[in-house]
Symmetry: C2
Subunit: 182 residues, 2 copies
């Protein structure tokens, strides 16, 4: 491994730790109490693009069985979760999920009539659905399975609870072929 | 309707409103942001026994589809949710649920080896399972479908998030034949 590659790896590890610390601060500011195991298990993904603050997501999975799942999603200011859908698997229609905003604002984009003056510009990548649903604290929206969607936090970041059927991140289908979730 | 019955009805309506107000205060103290519609939709059940503070439960249902469900449960100090199980229905094994404590302590009792020195005495009624799991903020436990369980809050009450498969309260099977959930 060359010096450059090693340097890159170190950078990403620092970025990951920074993102975990940010996630803990944001969750605690929302009133969420975490165990030490949960703090250590916070996931950070840059979707394989290497620009975490633009395209990325921080997650804490509370539970994920074959039948039900719950997570907290935390976003940096203006961070975007890349466009994707949850396809059918194991004779189920695929993941059905409810997003409930807890802190900040999250702009959710789903399939449907395009919103003419949308609040967000996506970062580089492939974005095809433009029906905007703005969620402020206490507001929520349920996304049917196999429906394209992406979301971006407002200027102060966002904390979003996700309630759903079983989650299989490895099966997610992204619109941008360069994106890798797992 | 006689004067006594009417007086009883008025009392219960006041009790219900008091319980809704308590629930709102507890949820807000936990950091939960509610919409006005949600505040008005808080459910209060005394399980048909007429002793709400002893045997009862306050709930806010965020979402309940045919596939996933999320609620907040709020308990008065030492209030007990009567023993019950969620039986199979519609070719599913029945409701599978995760309880996550957010505030206070909740003592959960499930089928399994009896805990010798348990923290709670149940109120009047039928209680048959005695395996105790104490949940403090940030701690959680998943209950398989069709498993008998009951729970009681500690001395300061409790706020508990519930993540689950579809919820069908009307199908709940209570150990005490006098209990009526719906």
């Amino acid at each position: 491994m060359g010096a450059l590659a090693r340097e890159g790896t170190v950078m990403r590890e620092e970025e990951r730790r920074e993102a975990q610390a940010y996630t803990i601060r944001e969750l605690e500011a929302t009133g969420v109490v975490l165990t030490d195991e949960e703090r250590a298990a916070i996931e950070v993904t840059d979707f394989g693009l290497g620009r975490l603050r633009e395209t990325g997501l921080q997650l804490l999975v509370y539970v994920n069985t074959e039948r039900h799942c719950a997570k907290e999603l935390v976003l940096y200011p203006r961070q975007t979760c890349a466009e994707h859908r949850h396809p059918p698997f194991d004779r189920t229609p695929g993941k059905e999920e409810t997003f409930r905003c807890r802190r900040g604002i999250v702009y959710l984009y789903v399939d449907g009539e395009a919103t003419s003056e949308h609040a967000c510009e996506p970062p580089g990548g492939v974005y095809t659905v433009w029906h905007e649903i703005a969620l402020r604290p206490g507001e929520q929206h349920t996304i049917p399975p196999n429906t394209l969607h992406w979301f971006q936090a407002g200027a102060d970041g966002a904390v979003v609870s996700e309630f759903s059927t079983a989650s299989r991140d490895d099966l997610d289908v992204f619109s941008d072929p360069e994106v890798r979730r797992v």
